[in-house]
């Protein structure tokens, strides 16, 4: 079944389709980022696909690649009982993609999380603000270059003594 899904996307968007692969019965379709909202709407409205629920949106950072960020949409179809992973690659600058909020409202919060932790901006998102971290937080912690040790951003706090007090 899932192979037919990939085939349908390929036929409907021949210019956008990049590749499709299967791992452990999970099908992944990779597309180009420019027409993501149209593809999303097609996936939702086509009666054979019927991906009516957006389970998850997340982003993966591959610092070595030209298309550094990969945005992953995990889709679920409640009537058809199948799932699909839709992926797209983004360059670092400008790191922007259209929001799929008009298609699935779940994207409202999920895309805010991606923006907060990975720094991917979503165009036409109704409320693109940081969701977990404070507004004045510096950097995006899920990027691979962000340190896992040290005080990080808290080093800029004035009330932390920068030198050991003299005894």
């Amino acid at each position: 079944m899932s192979q037919e899904i990939a085939q349908k996307i390929r036929e409907a968007f021949p210019g956008e389709f990049v590749e499709a692969n299967e791992f452990r019965n999970d099908w992944t379709v990779v597309v180009k980022p420019d027409r993501i909202v149209e593809i999303a709407r097609f996936l939702r409205d086509d009666s054979d696909l019927a991906f009516d629920q957006l389970s998850d949106v997340f982003s993966v950072d591959y610092p070595g690649r030209a298309e550094r960020f990969e945005v992953v949409y995990q889709l679920n179809s409640i009537p058809k009982r199948h799932r699909l992973r839709l992926k797209t690659g983004l360059r670092e600058d400008p790191c922007e993609i259209d929001s799929v909020y008009p298609v699935w409202k779940a994207a409202g919060f999920l895309e805010r999380e991606v923006y907060d932790l990975m720094g991917v901006r979503f165009r036409n998102h109704p409320d693109l603000r940081r969701i977990f971290l404070p507004e004045d937080f510096d950097g995006h912690p899920l990027r691979k270059e962000y340190p896992t040790e040290g005080k990080g951003w808290r080093n800029s706090f004035e009330f932390l003594p920068t030198e050991e007090p003299q005894t």
Binding site: S55, D56, F58, V72
Partner: protein, 421 residues
């Protein structure tokens, strides 16, 4: 003293100094009522938010016109943390996501890793997992029921549900040694077998439990205040519920027949008889009813699993992934080396990406793992139901009274540890 002193009718405007004896004449030009939107901050330190959730409410009188949740007070960066840990080391971190139902988180995580590795679990392990997951569902729903009723003002239910929850937590303690952060599941099975004593106690619990559910039901459904505070509150249509990504009892309350345990049967769910209760109105009362029915179904699943419980190993026999038993490690050199390698270096799963959804008490708990072939996940994403549900909070709160906000919080069964991660 004369209590009947007539009060000067208030115009709502600043009416000048109090000693002004002459009442100012009310003319047609002056507005009689003043209207102004009120911004009210709720939380993060509020007992009804079950953790640290802050909500900024925009009010028009007592009506909510906008509710903006402010998250992140419990953000610990678990996903970033996991990128630096081997696959086994992540299991205790999953305990701390939804700390009310840690077994369900363990289960969801190990299932995702097992899917990535492509290992299968021995039958007894699958049955034990099902039993434990359903016990945890009962614990989760009892916790929800007690706190939700307490928030609305029905205090007795809280003590009654915690009495039964205590019995199950004692069983968990007997099975794995912990009551809240259990860390019981292992990649490839579970960590300890169920003893005869545990099975006997569980059967005794199951015999009494349906009567207890009737007790809670009598206590709440005959309570007019509780009923009027839950019926037609936080209504969401099936279409919106699907679009907002709601899952679990919140989705089924709107009448959508979707349960991961039925749609993609895992563990022993395909081998036992049970039903998916469905609501129709999509309000808090329907969700209450669904959770009550789910507890009955869970009890049904557990008793069938206990009857069918096969003999055999509880851990799979894949030496690349599973450490040898402790008795062997203490006596056998090879096993000691094997044990050491598994716990210091971890194992190397194949390259690939998986998404694995599990029906947790709160909804669909999904783990996405991106593996680059190293012993640590390249990226691990947790799809927490509480977080996705909170995305619909504004939509569901609009138009209700400020007194309903506590019910609307409670209707999702939120746990902020899972929401903020």
């Amino acid at each position: 003293m004369d209590y009947q002193t007539p009060q000067k009718p208030s115009t709502g405007l600043n009416e000048g100094p109090l000693h002004d004896t002459e009442p100012r004449p009310i003319t047609e030009d002056l507005p009689l009522r003043r209207s102004e939107d009120l911004l009210l901050n709720m939380g993060p330190q509020h007992p009804a938010t079950h953790g640290v959730l802050r909500v900024v409410l925009e009010l028009e009188g007592e009506k909510i016109i906008k509710a903006t949740p402010d998250l992140g007070y419990l953000h610990r960066g678990v996903e970033k943390l996991c990128e630096g840990l081997t696959y086994q080391q992540i299991i205790p971190h999953t305990d701390r996501l939804d700390y009310v139902c840690s077994m369900s988180n363990n289960f969801a995580y190990v299932r995702a890793v097992e899917k990535l590795l492509g290992v299968s679990i021995p039958e007894r392990g699958e049955y034990i997992r099902t039993i434990i997951a359903e016990m945890q569902r009962i614990v989760g729903h009892l916790f929800w029921l007690g706190t939700q009723a307490l928030d609305i003002g029905a205090m007795t239910v809280f003590f009654w549900t915690f009495r039964e929850r205590e019995a199950l937590l004692d069983l968990f303690e007997q099975i794995c040694g912990a009551r809240l952060t259990m860390n019981y599941f292992r990649i490839g099975g579970v960590h300890a077998d169920l003893s005869e004593d545990v099975i006997r106690k569980l059967q005794k619990f199951l015999k009494e439990f349906p009567l207890k559910i009737e007790e809670y039901d009598r206590l709440l459904v005959n309570n007019r205040i509780w009923v009027s505070r839950t019926k037609d509150i936080a209504v969401i249509s099936a279409e919106d519920a699907v679009s907002f990504g709601l899952t679990g009892p919140v989705l089924r309350g709107s009448g959508v027949n979707y349960d991961v345990r039925k749609a993609e049967p895992y563990a022993a769910y395909g081998k036992v008889d049970w039903e998916v209760p469905l609501g129709s109105n999509g309000d808090t009362y329907d969700r209450y009813w669904i959770r009550m029915q789910e507890m009955k179904q869970s009890a049904r699943i557990i008793s069938q699993c206990l009857e069918k419980l096969p003999e055999g190993p509880i851990l799979t026999d894949v030496p690349q992934v599973v450490a040898p038993p402790k008795e062997k490690v203490m006596q056998d050199m090879q096993s000691l080396i094997h044990h050491f390698i598994i716990f210091t270096e971890g194992f190397r799963p194949p390259k690939g990406e998986v998404y694995c959804a599990t029906e947790a008490p709160k909804g669909e708990l999904g783990f996405s793992i991106v593996s680059d072939g190293s012993p640590k996940p390249y990226r691990l994403k947790i799809r927490a139901p509480s977080f996705v549900h909170l995305g619909a909070f504004d939509h569901m709160a609009r138009g209700y009274m400020i007194a309903d906000i506590v019910t609307i919080f409670g209707t999702y069964d939120l746990v902020m540890g899972e929401c903020d991660r």
